[in-house]
């Protein structure tokens, strides 16, 4: 990969990956370190997939693994997470977004990741299953469980 290709990859995928990390970690500070590490891995990698869809899945898989490694290692996580939540709630562009985000934060990481990949990026359950090393049915069950829980908590707010 040359410098030009690397820059193109950053422009094509940087924002998606940044937001995916944000959804996994719920933490802006750690998110920056992780995105940087993902691109260092990409730059050093000798065998990056050439096919665009495969490349996107590869990047998302590497990103999630890097996030999980960071979260395991980081003892500062709880403190930074709290800081991030406060920042995010104080600057909402949509009045209801902070409330929905708060509910999303309470979901397990895997369910949040599945919702992001399925509802925001548009990956199928099959593709997510391949990325997460799960069965398609398991991914579907986790997505349904997350939506059911969100519906319950959000409809409680309206009552």
């Amino acid at each position: 990969m040359n410098e030009h290709e690397f820059k193109n990859l950053y422009h094509d995928h940087g924002r998606n990956l940044y937001n995916f990390i944000l959804w996994i970690t719920v933490n802006r500070s750690i998110c920056e370190d992780i995105l940087q590490e993902v691109f260092v891995k990409l730059w050093r990698c000798e065998t990056v997939p050439a096919e665009p869809d495969e490349l996107r899945r590869w990047l998302l898989t590497v990103t999630r693994r890097t996030c999980l490694d960071f979260l395991r290692k980081s003892s500062r996580f709880a403190r930074l997470r709290h800081k991030y939540q406060t920042e995010r709630r104080e600057s909402p562009s949509d009045p209801d977004a902070p409330f929905l985000w708060e509910k999303l934060e309470n979901l397990p990481e895997m369910e949040r990741s599945i919702l992001y990949l399925h509802l925001k990026i548009g990956h199928t359950y099959r593709e997510i299953a391949d990325m997460f090393d799960l069965t398609e049915n398991r991914v579907r069950v986790r997505a349904f469980r997350a939506l059911k829980r969100l519906r319950e908590t959000l409809t409680k707010k309206e009552l």
Binding site: R15, Y18, L22, W43, K120, R151
Partner: protein, 112 residues
Amino acid sequence: MNSTMNDHPTDEALIECALEESDGKLRVHIEQCPQCSDYIEEIRTVSRDIAAIEDEPVPERLATKILAIAHGKRPENYVMTFLQTWHKNPFLIGCATAGAILLLYALLSLHL
């Protein structure tokens, strides 16, 4: 699935119906059952709201740091290449020799 008005489908079946295609019997039940039809609408609303959450831009300083990764040679390759080839460069051999002589001179002058 047998879904009459008194026999509501499971939550999972309703969520599947909200997000994907549903079978004929289930569709008939939902059309006649306000409770199930509301449930489906709520799931669709939640899904739409999630999809509508705005993506944040990558902070400018982070973008600059990431794009700098690709400047020049790969960091690990650069170090490895240097370690493997420095002795082939006459200038570096000269520097290393001069450094060794200076170090030796400094050590000797301390002892004498």
